[in-house]
Protein backbone atom coordinates (compact mmCIF):
# COMPACT_ATOMS: atom_id res chain seq x y z
CA UNK A 1 0.00 0.00 0.00
CA UNK A 2 1.29 3.38 -0.89
CA UNK A 3 1.49 5.42 2.24
CA UNK A 4 1.10 9.11 1.51
CA UNK A 5 3.28 10.18 4.40
CA UNK A 6 6.31 8.01 3.95
CA UNK A 7 7.49 4.42 4.20
CA UNK A 8 5.12 2.13 6.11
CA UNK A 9 7.28 1.45 9.15
CA UNK A 10 8.22 5.01 9.83
CA UNK A 11 6.33 6.20 12.89
CA UNK A 12 3.95 8.97 12.13
CA UNK A 13 3.21 11.57 14.76
CA UNK A 14 0.47 13.46 13.03
CA UNK A 15 -2.28 13.64 15.66
CA UNK A 16 -4.98 12.83 13.14
CA UNK A 17 -3.21 9.91 11.52
CA UNK A 18 -5.01 6.79 12.62
CA UNK A 19 -4.34 4.12 10.08
CA UNK A 20 -0.69 3.42 10.75
CA UNK A 21 0.15 -0.10 11.62
CA UNK A 22 2.81 -1.78 13.63
CA UNK A 23 3.40 -4.88 11.57
CA UNK A 24 5.38 -7.93 12.52
CA UNK A 25 6.50 -8.50 16.07
CA UNK A 26 9.81 -6.68 16.22
CA UNK A 27 10.24 -5.65 19.88
CA UNK A 28 11.13 -2.03 19.23
CA UNK A 29 8.00 -1.65 17.20
CA UNK A 30 5.98 -3.14 20.04
CA UNK A 31 7.45 -0.54 22.38
CA UNK A 32 6.52 2.19 19.98
CA UNK A 33 3.07 0.73 19.92
CA UNK A 34 2.83 1.04 23.73
CA UNK A 35 3.86 4.66 23.59
CA UNK A 36 1.45 5.29 20.82
CA UNK A 37 -1.33 3.70 22.83
CA UNK A 38 -0.78 6.20 25.61
CA UNK A 39 -0.71 9.01 23.10
CA UNK A 40 -3.87 7.68 21.54
CA UNK A 41 -5.55 7.77 24.91
CA UNK A 42 -4.86 11.48 25.21
CA UNK A 43 -6.02 12.06 21.68
CA UNK A 44 -9.24 10.24 22.36
CA UNK A 45 -9.79 12.34 25.43
CA UNK A 46 -9.29 15.66 23.73
CA UNK A 47 -10.11 15.42 20.05
CA UNK A 48 -13.23 14.81 18.08
CA UNK A 49 -16.42 16.69 17.51
CA UNK A 50 -19.86 15.20 17.66
CA UNK A 51 -22.65 15.63 15.17
CA UNK A 52 -24.72 17.29 17.85
CA UNK A 53 -22.17 20.05 18.35
CA UNK A 54 -22.03 20.59 14.60
CA UNK A 55 -25.80 20.86 14.34
CA UNK A 56 -25.93 23.26 17.24
CA UNK A 57 -23.39 25.46 15.49
CA UNK A 58 -25.57 25.34 12.39
CA UNK A 59 -28.62 26.36 14.43
CA UNK A 60 -26.65 29.19 16.05
CA UNK A 61 -25.69 30.45 12.59
CA UNK A 62 -29.36 30.43 11.60
CA UNK A 63 -30.36 32.38 14.70
CA UNK A 64 -27.66 34.84 13.69
CA UNK A 65 -29.26 35.07 10.24
CA UNK A 66 -32.63 35.79 11.89
CA UNK A 67 -30.96 38.56 13.89
CA UNK A 68 -29.44 40.09 10.75
CA UNK A 69 -32.78 39.88 8.96
CA UNK A 70 -34.49 41.64 11.86
CA UNK A 71 -31.83 44.33 11.80
CA UNK A 72 -32.26 44.85 8.06
CA UNK A 73 -36.05 44.91 8.28
CA UNK A 74 -36.07 47.33 11.21
CA UNK A 75 -33.91 49.68 9.16
CA UNK A 76 -36.07 49.21 6.07
CA UNK A 77 -39.47 49.60 7.72
CA UNK A 78 -40.36 51.60 10.86
CA UNK A 79 -43.05 49.22 12.13
CA UNK A 80 -41.08 45.99 12.07
CA UNK A 81 -39.12 46.04 15.30
CA UNK A 82 -41.92 46.74 17.74
CA UNK A 83 -42.72 44.49 20.67
CA UNK A 84 -46.17 43.93 19.17
CA UNK A 85 -44.77 42.79 15.82
CA UNK A 86 -42.05 40.58 17.32
CA UNK A 87 -44.72 39.03 19.50
CA UNK A 88 -46.78 38.44 16.35
CA UNK A 89 -43.89 36.70 14.63
CA UNK A 90 -43.39 34.49 17.67
CA UNK A 91 -47.10 33.70 17.80
CA UNK A 92 -47.23 32.91 14.10
CA UNK A 93 -44.20 30.66 14.54
CA UNK A 94 -45.67 28.72 17.43
CA UNK A 95 -48.28 26.52 15.71
CA UNK A 96 -46.12 25.84 12.64
CA UNK A 97 -43.15 25.34 14.96
CA UNK A 98 -44.86 22.60 16.95
CA UNK A 99 -45.78 20.81 13.71
CA UNK A 100 -42.24 21.25 12.46
CA UNK A 101 -40.77 19.69 15.61
CA UNK A 102 -42.84 16.55 14.98
CA UNK A 103 -41.74 16.56 11.35
CA UNK A 104 -38.11 16.92 12.48
CA UNK A 105 -38.33 13.93 14.79
CA UNK A 106 -39.73 11.70 12.09
CA UNK A 107 -37.36 12.95 9.40
CA UNK A 108 -34.37 12.22 11.66
CA UNK A 109 -35.63 8.63 11.77
CA UNK A 110 -35.77 8.59 7.96
CA UNK A 111 -39.56 8.78 7.66
CA UNK A 112 -41.92 11.53 6.59
CA UNK A 113 -45.35 12.69 7.74
CA UNK A 114 -47.28 14.67 5.13
CA UNK A 115 -50.48 14.59 7.20
CA UNK A 116 -49.23 17.06 9.81
CA UNK A 117 -51.22 20.07 8.58
CA UNK A 118 -54.49 18.20 8.18
CA UNK A 119 -54.09 16.22 11.41
CA UNK A 120 -53.72 19.61 13.08
CA UNK A 121 -56.90 20.90 11.41
CA UNK A 122 -58.78 17.72 12.27
CA UNK A 123 -57.85 17.97 15.95
CA UNK A 124 -59.00 21.58 16.19
CA UNK A 125 -62.24 20.75 14.41
CA UNK A 126 -62.88 17.72 16.60
CA UNK A 127 -62.36 19.78 19.74
CA UNK A 128 -64.73 22.45 18.42
CA UNK A 129 -67.43 19.90 17.62
CA UNK A 130 -67.14 18.15 20.98
CA UNK A 131 -66.91 21.27 23.12
CA UNK A 132 -69.12 23.73 21.24
CA UNK A 133 -71.64 21.62 19.34
CA UNK A 134 -71.99 18.76 21.79
CA UNK A 135 -71.37 20.87 24.90
CA UNK A 136 -68.85 18.46 26.41
CA UNK A 137 -66.40 19.58 29.07
CA UNK A 138 -63.21 21.20 27.78
CA UNK A 139 -61.00 18.42 29.08
CA UNK A 140 -63.01 15.83 27.15
CA UNK A 141 -62.50 17.78 23.94
CA UNK A 142 -58.78 18.19 24.57
CA UNK A 143 -58.38 14.59 25.69
CA UNK A 144 -60.24 13.25 22.67
CA UNK A 145 -58.18 15.38 20.28
CA UNK A 146 -54.90 14.23 21.84
CA UNK A 147 -56.06 10.62 21.78
CA UNK A 148 -56.96 10.88 18.10
CA UNK A 149 -53.39 12.05 17.54
CA UNK A 150 -52.09 8.83 19.04
CA UNK A 151 -54.51 6.85 16.86
CA UNK A 152 -53.53 8.68 13.65
CA UNK A 153 -49.84 8.29 14.44
CA UNK A 154 -50.31 4.58 15.14
CA UNK A 155 -52.13 4.07 11.85
CA UNK A 156 -49.38 5.90 9.96
CA UNK A 157 -46.81 3.78 11.81
CA UNK A 158 -48.67 0.52 11.21
CA UNK A 159 -48.96 0.98 7.47
CA UNK A 160 -45.38 2.16 7.13
CA UNK A 161 -43.63 -0.29 9.46
CA UNK A 162 -45.76 -3.43 9.39
CA UNK A 163 -47.43 -3.22 5.99
CA UNK A 164 -44.22 -1.70 4.58
CA UNK A 165 -45.83 0.99 2.46
CA UNK A 166 -43.54 4.03 2.09
CA UNK A 167 -44.49 6.67 4.67
CA UNK A 168 -44.74 9.21 1.87
CA UNK A 169 -47.77 7.35 0.45
CA UNK A 170 -49.28 6.37 3.81
CA UNK A 171 -49.26 9.89 5.18
CA UNK A 172 -50.39 11.38 1.87
CA UNK A 173 -53.43 9.11 2.12
CA UNK A 174 -53.85 10.11 5.76
CA UNK A 175 -53.70 13.76 4.70
CA UNK A 176 -56.75 13.18 2.52
CA UNK A 177 -58.57 11.11 5.11
CA UNK A 178 -58.25 13.48 8.07
CA UNK A 179 -58.72 16.58 5.93
CA UNK A 180 -61.93 15.16 4.54
CA UNK A 181 -63.04 13.89 7.93
CA UNK A 182 -62.60 17.37 9.38
CA UNK A 183 -64.95 18.79 6.72
CA UNK A 184 -67.41 15.92 7.25
CA UNK A 185 -67.47 16.57 11.02
CA UNK A 186 -68.88 20.06 10.55
CA UNK A 187 -70.50 19.57 7.14
CA UNK A 188 -67.99 22.11 5.90
CA UNK A 189 -69.12 24.82 8.31
CA UNK A 190 -66.93 26.70 10.74
CA UNK A 191 -67.74 25.86 14.34
CA UNK A 192 -66.87 28.75 16.63
CA UNK A 193 -67.43 30.17 20.11
CA UNK A 194 -65.39 28.20 22.63
CA UNK A 195 -65.89 28.79 26.37
CA UNK A 196 -63.53 31.51 27.56
CA UNK A 197 -61.36 29.12 29.58
CA UNK A 198 -60.49 27.27 26.35
CA UNK A 199 -59.20 30.50 24.85
CA UNK A 200 -56.38 30.58 27.40
CA UNK A 201 -54.56 27.90 25.40
CA UNK A 202 -54.10 30.14 22.38
CA UNK A 203 -54.42 33.63 23.84
CA UNK A 204 -53.08 33.34 27.37
CA UNK A 205 -49.79 34.86 28.39
CA UNK A 206 -47.11 34.00 30.88
CA UNK A 207 -45.71 37.40 31.76
CA UNK A 208 -45.28 39.17 28.43
CA UNK A 209 -44.88 35.93 26.49
CA UNK A 210 -47.88 34.37 24.72
CA UNK A 211 -48.67 30.88 26.01
CA UNK A 212 -48.34 29.21 22.57
CA UNK A 213 -44.80 30.53 22.37
CA UNK A 214 -44.04 29.08 25.80
CA UNK A 215 -45.50 25.77 24.69
CA UNK A 216 -43.40 25.84 21.48
CA UNK A 217 -40.22 26.52 23.44
CA UNK A 218 -41.12 23.71 25.86
CA UNK A 219 -41.75 21.30 22.99
CA UNK A 220 -38.47 22.27 21.29
CA UNK A 221 -36.49 21.77 24.51
CA UNK A 222 -38.19 18.52 25.44
CA UNK A 223 -37.78 17.07 21.96
CA UNK A 224 -34.13 18.11 21.84
CA UNK A 225 -33.47 16.49 25.21
CA UNK A 226 -35.17 13.27 24.16
CA UNK A 227 -33.32 13.24 20.83
CA UNK A 228 -29.85 13.86 22.20
CA UNK A 229 -29.91 12.69 25.79
CA UNK A 230 -31.95 9.50 25.77
CA UNK A 231 -31.28 6.06 24.42
CA UNK A 232 -34.29 6.10 22.12
CA UNK A 233 -33.09 9.42 20.68
CA UNK A 234 -29.65 8.09 19.81
CA UNK A 235 -31.27 4.97 18.35
CA UNK A 236 -33.55 7.17 16.21
CA UNK A 237 -30.49 8.92 14.75
CA UNK A 238 -28.90 5.53 14.11
CA UNK A 239 -32.01 4.23 12.35
CA UNK A 240 -32.24 7.34 10.20
CA UNK A 241 -28.54 7.21 9.43
CA UNK A 242 -28.30 3.54 8.48
CA UNK A 243 -31.40 1.44 8.99
CA UNK A 244 -29.73 -1.76 7.83
CA UNK A 245 -26.96 -1.29 10.37
CA UNK A 246 -29.46 -0.52 13.10
CA UNK A 247 -31.22 -3.77 12.31
CA UNK A 248 -27.99 -5.76 12.29
CA UNK A 249 -26.98 -4.52 15.73
CA UNK A 250 -30.36 -5.53 17.05
CA UNK A 251 -32.21 -2.25 17.54
CA UNK A 252 -35.99 -2.46 17.81
CA UNK A 253 -36.56 -0.33 14.75
CA UNK A 254 -40.33 -0.64 14.54
CA UNK A 255 -40.81 0.30 18.16
CA UNK A 256 -38.63 3.39 17.91
CA UNK A 257 -40.20 4.58 14.65
CA UNK A 258 -43.73 3.84 15.85
CA UNK A 259 -43.12 6.17 18.79
CA UNK A 260 -41.80 8.79 16.37
CA UNK A 261 -44.96 8.55 14.25
CA UNK A 262 -47.09 8.89 17.39
CA UNK A 263 -45.02 11.83 18.65
CA UNK A 264 -45.43 13.59 15.30
CA UNK A 265 -49.21 13.15 15.15
CA UNK A 266 -49.62 14.04 18.83
CA UNK A 267 -47.72 17.29 18.37
CA UNK A 268 -50.03 18.02 15.42
CA UNK A 269 -53.10 17.65 17.60
CA UNK A 270 -51.53 19.89 20.25
CA UNK A 271 -50.89 22.49 17.54
CA UNK A 272 -54.47 22.08 16.32
CA UNK A 273 -55.86 22.74 19.78
CA UNK A 274 -53.76 25.89 20.11
CA UNK A 275 -54.82 27.21 16.69
CA UNK A 276 -58.52 26.52 17.31
CA UNK A 277 -58.22 28.33 20.62
CA UNK A 278 -56.44 31.29 19.04
CA UNK A 279 -59.01 31.55 16.24
CA UNK A 280 -61.82 30.63 18.65
CA UNK A 281 -63.16 28.18 16.08
CA UNK A 282 -62.48 24.93 14.30
CA UNK A 283 -62.58 24.21 10.57
CA UNK A 284 -60.96 21.70 8.24
CA UNK A 285 -59.20 24.39 6.25
CA UNK A 286 -57.45 26.10 9.18
CA UNK A 287 -53.73 25.86 8.76
CA UNK A 288 -54.01 24.74 5.15
CA UNK A 289 -50.51 25.85 4.18
CA UNK A 290 -48.85 24.69 7.41
CA UNK A 291 -47.45 21.56 5.78
CA UNK A 292 -45.51 23.66 3.31
CA UNK A 293 -44.28 26.02 6.01
CA UNK A 294 -43.32 23.27 8.45
CA UNK A 295 -41.37 21.41 5.77
CA UNK A 296 -39.62 24.64 4.82
CA UNK A 297 -38.70 25.35 8.45
CA UNK A 298 -37.33 21.84 9.00
CA UNK A 299 -35.22 21.88 5.86
CA UNK A 300 -33.94 25.41 6.47
CA UNK A 301 -33.12 24.21 9.99
CA UNK A 302 -30.64 21.72 8.62
CA UNK A 303 -32.46 18.45 9.20
CA UNK A 304 -31.26 16.06 6.52
CA UNK A 305 -33.83 14.90 3.99
CA UNK A 306 -32.21 11.48 3.96
CA UNK A 307 -32.48 11.07 7.72
CA UNK A 308 -29.99 10.67 10.53
CA UNK A 309 -29.22 14.33 11.11
CA UNK A 310 -31.15 17.25 12.49
CA UNK A 311 -32.03 19.22 15.56
CA UNK A 312 -35.13 20.93 16.87
CA UNK A 313 -33.04 24.04 17.64
CA UNK A 314 -32.34 24.27 13.92
CA UNK A 315 -36.02 23.80 13.20
CA UNK A 316 -36.92 26.56 15.66
CA UNK A 317 -34.46 28.85 13.92
CA UNK A 318 -35.92 27.80 10.57
CA UNK A 319 -39.47 28.63 11.70
CA UNK A 320 -38.37 32.01 13.02
CA UNK A 321 -36.52 32.82 9.82
CA UNK A 322 -39.49 31.88 7.68
CA UNK A 323 -42.04 33.74 9.83
CA UNK A 324 -39.77 36.77 9.86
CA UNK A 325 -39.44 36.74 6.09
CA UNK A 326 -43.22 36.41 5.66
CA UNK A 327 -43.84 39.17 8.17
CA UNK A 328 -41.17 41.35 6.61
CA UNK A 329 -42.76 40.99 3.19
CA UNK A 330 -46.01 42.36 4.59
CA UNK A 331 -44.20 45.30 6.14
CA UNK A 332 -42.40 45.95 2.87
CA UNK A 333 -45.80 46.16 1.21
CA UNK A 334 -45.45 43.02 -0.89
CA UNK A 335 -48.72 41.36 -1.92
CA UNK A 336 -49.48 38.54 0.58
CA UNK A 337 -49.97 36.10 -2.29
CA UNK A 338 -46.23 36.24 -2.81
CA UNK A 339 -45.67 34.65 0.60
CA UNK A 340 -46.32 31.11 -0.60
CA UNK A 341 -44.06 31.65 -3.57
CA UNK A 342 -41.31 32.82 -1.24
CA UNK A 343 -41.80 29.87 1.14
CA UNK A 344 -41.63 27.47 -1.79
CA UNK A 345 -38.48 29.14 -3.09
CA UNK A 346 -36.99 28.94 0.41
CA UNK A 347 -37.55 25.16 0.39
CA UNK A 348 -35.72 24.84 -2.91
CA UNK A 349 -32.86 27.01 -1.68
CA UNK A 350 -32.57 25.02 1.54
CA UNK A 351 -32.71 21.70 -0.32
CA UNK A 352 -29.97 22.91 -2.61
CA UNK A 353 -27.84 23.82 0.39
CA UNK A 354 -28.58 20.41 1.95
CA UNK A 355 -27.55 18.64 -1.24
CA UNK A 356 -24.36 20.62 -1.49
CA UNK A 357 -23.49 19.82 2.12
CA UNK A 358 -24.34 16.18 1.56
CA UNK A 359 -22.42 16.14 -1.68
CA UNK A 360 -19.22 16.59 0.27
CA UNK A 361 -20.30 14.02 2.84
CA UNK A 362 -21.09 11.46 0.16
CA UNK A 363 -17.81 12.01 -1.58
CA UNK A 364 -16.24 10.93 1.68
CA UNK A 365 -18.48 7.93 2.21
CA UNK A 366 -18.09 6.63 -1.31
CA UNK A 367 -14.37 6.16 -0.71
CA UNK A 368 -14.33 3.82 2.28
CA UNK A 369 -10.82 2.67 1.46
CA UNK A 370 -9.32 6.11 1.68
CA UNK A 371 -5.97 5.86 3.41
CA UNK A 372 -4.41 8.48 5.57
CA UNK A 373 -5.41 12.02 4.74
Amino acid sequence: MAHPKGPPKQPNHSPLEGSEVVSGDAPELRLQSEARKRAAWLRIKTLGSSSIARLNRQAAALFGAVGLLWLALSIATPNFFTSQNISNIALQSSVVGILAVGFTILLIGGEIDLSIGSTQAFAGTLAAVLIIQLGMPIWVGIGAALLIGVVIGSINGYFTLIARVPSFIVTLAMLGIVQGAAFVLTSGRTVGGFPSTYEVLGRGKIGPIPLPVVILLGVVMLAQIVLTQTKIGVELYAIGGNRKAAELVGLRINRVLMLAFIASASLCTLAGLILSSRLNAGHGSFGGDFLLEAVAAVIIGGTSLSGGAGSTFGTLAGVLLMSSIKNGLIHLGVDTFWQQVVVGALILAAVLADQMLKGTLHARELVPFRRGH
Binding site: S19, R43, G48, E235, V249, G250, L251, R371
Partner: protein
Protein backbone atom coordinates in the same frame (compact mmCIF):
# COMPACT_ATOMS: atom_id res chain seq x y z
CA UNK B 1 -16.27 -32.31 21.29
CA UNK B 2 -19.73 -31.10 20.32
CA UNK B 3 -20.08 -28.03 18.18
CA UNK B 4 -21.20 -24.86 19.93
CA UNK B 5 -22.95 -23.65 16.77
CA UNK B 6 -24.07 -25.80 13.87
CA UNK B 7 -26.07 -25.35 10.70
CA UNK B 8 -27.57 -28.40 9.01
CA UNK B 9 -28.94 -28.67 5.50
CA UNK B 10 -29.47 -24.96 5.03
CA UNK B 11 -31.33 -24.00 1.84
CA UNK B 12 -31.77 -20.47 0.61
CA UNK B 13 -33.29 -19.26 -2.62
CA UNK B 14 -33.25 -15.74 -3.97
CA UNK B 15 -35.97 -16.02 -6.56
CA UNK B 16 -34.73 -18.81 -8.80
CA UNK B 17 -31.16 -18.48 -7.65
CA UNK B 18 -30.16 -21.14 -5.18
CA UNK B 19 -27.69 -19.42 -2.87
CA UNK B 20 -27.43 -22.32 -0.43
CA UNK B 21 -28.24 -25.92 -1.27
CA UNK B 22 -28.02 -27.99 1.85
CA UNK B 23 -25.06 -26.30 3.49
CA UNK B 24 -23.86 -27.92 6.67
CA UNK B 25 -21.39 -26.23 8.94
CA UNK B 26 -20.26 -26.17 12.53
CA UNK B 27 -17.84 -24.45 14.88
CA UNK B 28 -16.63 -25.78 18.21
CA UNK B 29 -15.93 -24.04 21.45
CA UNK B 30 -12.82 -21.82 21.30
CA UNK B 31 -12.23 -22.82 17.72
CA UNK B 32 -11.44 -20.46 14.86
CA UNK B 33 -12.96 -21.64 11.62
CA UNK B 34 -12.30 -19.99 8.29
CA UNK B 35 -14.91 -20.21 5.56
CA UNK B 36 -13.45 -19.94 2.08
CA UNK B 37 -14.90 -20.22 -1.39
CA UNK B 38 -15.24 -18.46 -4.69
CA UNK B 39 -17.50 -15.48 -5.24
CA UNK B 40 -21.09 -16.65 -5.13
CA UNK B 41 -20.25 -19.85 -3.28
CA UNK B 42 -22.71 -18.85 -0.54
CA UNK B 43 -20.30 -17.78 2.22
CA UNK B 44 -21.98 -14.51 3.10
CA UNK B 45 -25.44 -16.01 2.88
CA UNK B 46 -24.46 -18.82 5.23
CA UNK B 47 -22.99 -16.32 7.67
CA UNK B 48 -26.14 -14.23 7.56
CA UNK B 49 -28.27 -17.29 8.20
CA UNK B 50 -26.18 -17.98 11.29
CA UNK B 51 -26.89 -14.47 12.62
CA UNK B 52 -30.54 -14.29 11.65
CA UNK B 53 -29.94 -11.51 9.13
CA UNK B 54 -31.18 -13.87 6.41
CA UNK B 55 -33.96 -16.38 7.02
CA UNK B 56 -33.26 -19.82 5.49
CA UNK B 57 -35.88 -21.62 3.41
CA UNK B 58 -34.96 -24.95 4.96
CA UNK B 59 -32.52 -26.46 7.43
CA UNK B 60 -31.77 -26.22 11.13
CA UNK B 61 -29.49 -24.16 13.30
CA UNK B 62 -28.30 -25.72 16.53
CA UNK B 63 -26.77 -23.85 19.40
CA UNK B 64 -25.05 -26.21 21.82
CA UNK B 65 -27.18 -29.00 20.39
CA UNK B 66 -30.48 -27.14 20.86
CA UNK B 67 -32.39 -26.07 17.78
CA UNK B 68 -32.83 -22.29 17.60
CA UNK B 69 -34.98 -20.11 15.39
CA UNK B 70 -33.27 -16.83 14.55
CA UNK B 71 -35.80 -14.42 13.08
CA UNK B 72 -33.53 -11.37 13.25
CA UNK B 73 -29.97 -10.42 14.25
CA UNK B 74 -31.43 -9.46 17.60
CA UNK B 75 -32.28 -13.11 18.30
CA UNK B 76 -28.75 -14.31 17.59
CA UNK B 77 -27.27 -11.47 19.67
CA UNK B 78 -29.46 -12.55 22.58
CA UNK B 79 -27.98 -16.05 22.21
CA UNK B 80 -24.39 -14.82 22.33
CA UNK B 81 -23.54 -14.51 18.65
CA UNK B 82 -22.08 -11.28 17.35
CA UNK B 83 -20.98 -10.44 13.84
CA UNK B 84 -18.89 -7.97 11.93
CA UNK B 85 -20.56 -7.74 8.55
CA UNK B 86 -18.83 -7.03 5.30
CA UNK B 87 -20.58 -3.67 5.00
CA UNK B 88 -19.64 -3.03 8.65
CA UNK B 89 -23.13 -2.03 9.81
CA UNK B 90 -22.04 1.30 11.27
CA UNK B 91 -24.15 4.42 11.49
CA UNK B 92 -21.85 6.98 9.88
CA UNK B 93 -23.78 9.86 11.41
CA UNK B 94 -23.08 8.71 14.98
CA UNK B 95 -19.89 9.13 16.94
CA UNK B 96 -17.36 6.34 17.31
CA UNK B 97 -18.44 5.80 20.94
CA UNK B 98 -22.10 5.65 20.00
CA UNK B 99 -21.36 3.03 17.36
CA UNK B 100 -19.32 0.92 19.75
CA UNK B 101 -22.28 0.91 22.13
CA UNK B 102 -25.14 0.87 19.61
CA UNK B 103 -27.66 -1.76 20.64
CA UNK B 104 -26.81 -1.46 24.32
CA UNK B 105 -26.42 2.22 25.05
CA UNK B 106 -25.85 2.81 28.76
CA UNK B 107 -28.16 5.19 30.58
CA UNK B 108 -28.16 6.85 33.93
CA UNK B 109 -31.44 8.27 35.16
CA UNK B 110 -32.82 7.87 31.63
CA UNK B 111 -29.94 9.93 30.25
CA UNK B 112 -27.40 8.47 27.90
CA UNK B 113 -24.23 8.10 29.91
CA UNK B 114 -21.88 9.66 27.37
CA UNK B 115 -19.00 10.01 29.81
CA UNK B 116 -19.06 6.26 30.44
CA UNK B 117 -19.51 5.51 26.74
CA UNK B 118 -16.55 7.69 25.79
CA UNK B 119 -14.34 6.30 28.53
CA UNK B 120 -15.20 2.66 27.86
CA UNK B 121 -14.95 2.87 24.08
CA UNK B 122 -11.62 4.69 24.40
CA UNK B 123 -10.44 1.87 26.65
CA UNK B 124 -11.63 -0.85 24.26
CA UNK B 125 -10.08 0.86 21.27
CA UNK B 126 -6.89 1.31 23.20
CA UNK B 127 -6.85 -2.33 24.20
CA UNK B 128 -7.20 -3.29 20.57
CA UNK B 129 -4.45 -0.76 19.74
CA UNK B 130 -6.83 1.01 17.42
CA UNK B 131 -6.16 4.63 16.64
CA UNK B 132 -9.12 6.82 15.84
CA UNK B 133 -9.20 10.62 15.74
CA UNK B 134 -11.38 10.57 18.85
CA UNK B 135 -14.31 8.68 20.28
CA UNK B 136 -16.52 11.67 19.57
CA UNK B 137 -15.53 11.83 15.92
CA UNK B 138 -18.20 11.16 13.35
CA UNK B 139 -17.80 7.57 12.20
CA UNK B 140 -18.30 8.58 8.55
CA UNK B 141 -15.14 10.66 8.75
CA UNK B 142 -12.92 7.66 9.54
CA UNK B 143 -10.83 5.68 7.09
CA UNK B 144 -11.86 2.21 5.99
CA UNK B 145 -9.45 0.56 8.41
CA UNK B 146 -10.58 2.71 11.30
CA UNK B 147 -14.21 1.90 10.61
CA UNK B 148 -13.40 -1.78 10.39
CA UNK B 149 -11.71 -1.42 13.75
CA UNK B 150 -14.74 0.32 15.23
CA UNK B 151 -16.99 -2.48 13.97
CA UNK B 152 -14.69 -5.04 15.59
CA UNK B 153 -14.53 -2.97 18.77
CA UNK B 154 -18.30 -3.08 18.97
CA UNK B 155 -18.35 -6.84 18.47
CA UNK B 156 -15.68 -7.21 21.15
CA UNK B 157 -17.55 -4.95 23.50
CA UNK B 158 -20.67 -7.03 23.14
CA UNK B 159 -18.66 -9.75 24.82
CA UNK B 160 -20.33 -12.67 23.09
CA UNK B 161 -18.97 -16.20 22.95
CA UNK B 162 -19.23 -16.56 19.18
CA UNK B 163 -17.91 -13.94 16.81
CA UNK B 164 -18.52 -14.02 13.08
CA UNK B 165 -16.36 -11.88 10.80
CA UNK B 166 -17.32 -11.51 7.14
CA UNK B 167 -14.33 -10.47 5.02
CA UNK B 168 -12.76 -8.39 7.76
CA UNK B 169 -9.75 -7.45 5.65
CA UNK B 170 -11.11 -7.41 2.10
CA UNK B 171 -11.78 -3.68 2.03
CA UNK B 172 -8.48 -2.73 3.61
CA UNK B 173 -5.00 -1.85 2.49
CA UNK B 174 -2.11 -4.09 3.44
CA UNK B 175 -1.19 -2.22 6.62
CA UNK B 176 -4.74 -1.83 7.83
CA UNK B 177 -5.37 -5.47 7.04
CA UNK B 178 -2.35 -6.51 9.11
CA UNK B 179 -3.69 -4.53 12.03
CA UNK B 180 -7.07 -6.23 11.83
CA UNK B 181 -5.35 -9.62 11.65
CA UNK B 182 -3.46 -8.74 14.82
CA UNK B 183 -6.71 -7.90 16.54
CA UNK B 184 -8.26 -11.19 15.50
CA UNK B 185 -5.17 -13.08 16.69
CA UNK B 186 -5.60 -11.42 20.07
CA UNK B 187 -9.25 -12.41 20.12
CA UNK B 188 -8.28 -16.02 19.44
CA UNK B 189 -6.42 -16.05 22.74
CA UNK B 190 -9.66 -15.26 24.53
CA UNK B 191 -12.42 -17.66 25.40
CA UNK B 192 -14.25 -17.30 22.12
CA UNK B 193 -15.31 -19.16 19.00
CA UNK B 194 -14.57 -17.32 15.79
CA UNK B 195 -15.91 -17.81 12.29
CA UNK B 196 -14.06 -15.82 9.66
CA UNK B 197 -14.92 -15.52 6.01
CA UNK B 198 -12.00 -14.60 3.80
CA UNK B 199 -10.70 -14.71 0.27
CA UNK B 200 -7.14 -14.40 1.42
CA UNK B 201 -5.58 -17.80 1.98
CA UNK B 202 -2.53 -16.33 3.71
CA UNK B 203 -4.82 -14.80 6.30
CA UNK B 204 -6.84 -17.97 6.55
CA UNK B 205 -3.79 -20.09 7.25
CA UNK B 206 -2.49 -17.54 9.73
CA UNK B 207 -5.72 -17.36 11.75
CA UNK B 208 -7.77 -20.51 11.44
CA UNK B 209 -7.66 -23.82 13.27
CA UNK B 210 -9.86 -25.35 10.62
CA UNK B 211 -10.74 -24.38 7.07
CA UNK B 212 -14.18 -24.99 5.60
CA UNK B 213 -14.55 -24.77 1.82
CA UNK B 214 -17.80 -23.81 0.11
CA UNK B 215 -18.71 -24.28 -3.52
CA UNK B 216 -22.05 -23.69 -5.25
CA UNK B 217 -24.02 -23.29 -2.05
CA UNK B 218 -22.58 -26.35 -0.34
CA UNK B 219 -19.84 -27.00 2.15
CA UNK B 220 -17.58 -29.30 0.14
CA UNK B 221 -14.88 -29.94 2.65
CA UNK B 222 -13.36 -29.22 6.02
CA UNK B 223 -9.69 -29.50 6.84
CA UNK B 224 -7.67 -28.92 9.97
CA UNK B 225 -5.07 -26.32 9.12
CA UNK B 226 -2.29 -28.70 10.04
CA UNK B 227 -3.60 -31.39 7.66
CA UNK B 228 -3.84 -29.37 4.50
CA UNK B 229 -2.06 -27.05 2.15
CA UNK B 230 -2.96 -23.92 0.25
CA UNK B 231 -2.84 -25.95 -2.94
CA UNK B 232 -5.40 -28.42 -1.67
CA UNK B 233 -7.71 -25.66 -0.49
CA UNK B 234 -7.48 -23.93 -3.87
CA UNK B 235 -8.38 -27.16 -5.61
CA UNK B 236 -11.37 -27.58 -3.34
CA UNK B 237 -12.46 -24.00 -3.98
CA UNK B 238 -12.35 -24.25 -7.75
CA UNK B 239 -13.57 -27.84 -7.77
CA UNK B 240 -10.94 -29.33 -10.03
CA UNK B 241 -10.34 -33.05 -9.85
CA UNK B 242 -11.54 -34.17 -6.45
CA UNK B 243 -8.89 -36.89 -6.59
CA UNK B 244 -6.28 -34.18 -6.45
CA UNK B 245 -7.99 -32.59 -3.47
CA UNK B 246 -8.10 -35.87 -1.61
CA UNK B 247 -4.36 -36.47 -1.96
Amino acid sequence: MNPILAAQGIEKYYGHVRALSGATFDVRSNETVAVVGDNGAGKSTLIKVLTGAVLPDAGRILLEGEEVDFRSPRDSLDQGITAVYQDLALAGNLTVAENVFLGKIPTRWFRVDRAYMDRESARILEELAINVPGVRARTASLSGGQRQAVAIARAVHEGKRIMILDEPTAALGVQEGQKVLQIIEELRQQDMSIVIVSHNLDHVFRLADRIVVMRAGRVVGSRAKTDTSAAEIVHMIVGTSSALAEE
